[in-house]
């Protein structure tokens, strides 16, 4: 019991610290990568290559004046940043990030809380994040903030369904909602991104919407809503929303890694996922996990500085008329396929199983990308004139 408590506390502190530092560096990475994509240099003055820029920003935000709008609901206004910050960090607790670390007192699992209901926990806390944004928008007592909050709630609720549906396929294949089991299943043979490519595609789109990142950053929408729900926030409270956004990105990337890209699994080898555990294995798998997460974070930034923002009705149309039916249909098809392969043919999950499903995905992708995607213009907000 003592061992469990001590190891848990150490893990919590380490994971918290790493995420906070990671988030800080991520803000820098975002600014520099954005600059490079625009043929600029970006912030490179504070420290080597601008590495101390986040520290300077943090210091600035700590010392800035806290403003409180006169008409704001004081309690909720102060509560909102914490409400969006806490769930963003909590979600990471169930994500396994390395192989167990052997210590003289026993093996330490490299996950803060190895919950048996890991995935459901993530869905639950992921949806809590919207409260922070809605409360911030409402408590500011400002039209634009309220609009931002409303958009956020509509958007996150809409895309949560598609996101949950797309991951049902993963759970069907893994046969478990514990994330360490999901990783173990992938480590044994093939990553789920191959047998479930389309689910991954749906998931990544929904994850962008869930984290309020471009092209789905309607709750912020600088041009229309002057930063939306956090218009009225200043100093560290404003910073908290930023930290929440970036921690959400980290969590979403970690989730993609865990669900579709084998978590900490090093590809093409099996020595890393079989006991006996050693510190070296832990370190290498941790490195692999970080590498994958950083890759996805780069994709986040890359997409943000490439795509323009959706209009609100387009966003809703995409969420309800495209993503949801697609996800539902996909779950049906994949469940049938798994049932046939597993129950009728008696195959167990392995290379053959995965390749069969991958073939099915390719077959499904052809109509999806070459028929459904073609010739569909996102309609204008006014009705077409009858010719």
């Amino acid at each position: 019991m003592t061992f469990f408590l001590v190891s848990s506390v150490i893990k919590i502190i380490v994971v918290f610290t790493v995420i906070m530092v990671g988030v800080a560096l991520l803000t820098l990475a975002e600014r520099r990568i954005c600059a490079w994509m625009q043929d600029r240099l970006g912030p490179n003055r504070v420290g080597p290559q601008g590495l101390l820029q986040p520290a300077a920003d943090g210091l600035k935000n700590l010392l800035k004046e806290e403003t409180l709008p006169a008409q704001a609901d004081k309690v909720l206004f102060l509560l909102a940043p914490a409400m969006s910050f806490v769930p963003a960090l909590l979600t990471f607790a169930v994500i396994p990030f390395a192989t167990p670390l052997p210590t003289p007192w026993g093996d330490v699992e490299m996950v803060v809380a190895n919950l048996p209901v890991g995935f459901l926990y993530i869905l639950a806390f992921g949806s809590l994040g919207v409260y922070g944004i809605v409360l911030a928008g409402w408590a500011s007592n400002n039209k634009y903030s309220l609009l931002g909050g409303l958009r956020a709630s509509a958007q996150m609720i809409s895309y949560e369904i598609a996101m949950g549906m797309s991951t049902v396929a993963v759970l069907l294949l893994a046969g478990n909602v514990t994330l360490s089991e999901v990783v173990a299943r992938q480590a044994q043979s093939i990553w789920f991104v191959f047998p479930l490519s389309l689910a991954y595609f749906l998931f990544i789109v929904a994850a962008f919407a869930e984290t309020n990142r471009l092209p789905f950053d309607l709750p912020e929408a600088e041009g229309e809503l002057i930063a939306g729900y956090h218009t009225e926030y200043s100093a560290m409270k404003f910073s908290m929303f930023y930290i929440a956004e970036y921690s959400n990105m980290v969590t979403a990337s970690a989730l993609m890694t865990t669900l579709f890209f084998g978590g900490w699994d090093i590809p093409f080898t099996h020595w890393d996922n079989t006991p006996p555990w050693s510190p070296l294995k832990t370190l290498l798998t941790l490195g692999m996990f970080s590498l994958k997460v950083i890759g996805f974070l780069f994709v986040y930034i890359w997409v943000r500085w490439t795509l323009p923002r959706f209009r609100y009705d387009q966003l809703m149309a995409l969420g309800w008329k495209v993503m949801l039916p697609l996800a539902l249909a996909y779950v049906t098809v994949i469940a049938t396929a798994i049932w046939i392969l597993h129950e009728q043919l008696g195959w167990t999950y392995g290379t053959r199983f995965a390749l069969a499903l991958f073939g099915l995905n390719v077959l499904l992708a052809i109509p999806l990308f070459f028929v459904l995607d073609r010739g569909r213009i996102v309609a204008g907000s006014v009705a077409e004139e009858r010719a």
Binding site: W36, D39, W305
Partner: protein, 168 residues
């Protein structure tokens, strides 16, 4: 439609969001590696692509003769033509009858940098300079006196004549 909104006829048949997205992402990715246009100012002041134009009209400079005296003969043309009235000139005369400026001051805050002073000067003494780093700690440092005008070393403007655009 209520008001005259132009509805674009879009080529629906070929439109593909996926393809457009991937194209855009390939473009931004290729830009990651391209040379950057940022000039890091205090360290880099000009590059092969960017220098001040020789026609640039910046803060003034008084040219001097071989003995280091100002070429100015205090004829009074420049304060006369100056549209901003920023030149203060008090003429003096030595024992040989040579006129020289006793006081010659230009208020660079009043100056509109039209370059008329340089254009009108019969002795090619006063010039506007090709120069832009003029920061000072106090306002009164922006009234340049004769000594300071003579001490400037930056290049001077080659004024552009509209009737002779190529400068021949």
């Amino acid at each position: 439609m209520a008001i005259g909104i132009k509805v674009m006829k879009r080529p629906g048949g070929q439109a593909s969001y996926l393809r457009a997205t991937l194209k855009g992402m390939a473009l931004t990715f290729s830009h990651l590696w391209r040379p950057k246009v940022t000039m890091q100012y205090p360290e880099e002041k000009s590059s092969k692509d960017w220098t001040l134009s020789p026609r640039w009209r910046g803060t003034h400079r008084m040219l001097t003769d071989e003995q280091g005296r100002a070429k100015c003969v205090a004829c009074g043309l420049c304060p006369q033509i100056c549209p901003a009235n920023c030149i203060k000139l008090v003429p003096g005369e030595d024992e040989h009858g040579n006129r020289y400026p006793l006081i010659y001051e230009i208020d660079e805050f009043r100056c509109v940098f039209c370059g008329y002073c340089q254009e009108v000067c019969p002795e090619e003494a006063i010039h506007v300079g090709v120069h832009y780093e003029n920061a000072e700690y106090s306002r009164d440092r922006f009234v340049y006196d004769l000594e300071r005008l003579c001490a400037q070393t930056h290049p001077v403007s080659t004024l552009w004549d509209p009737s002779d655009p190529k400068g021949e």
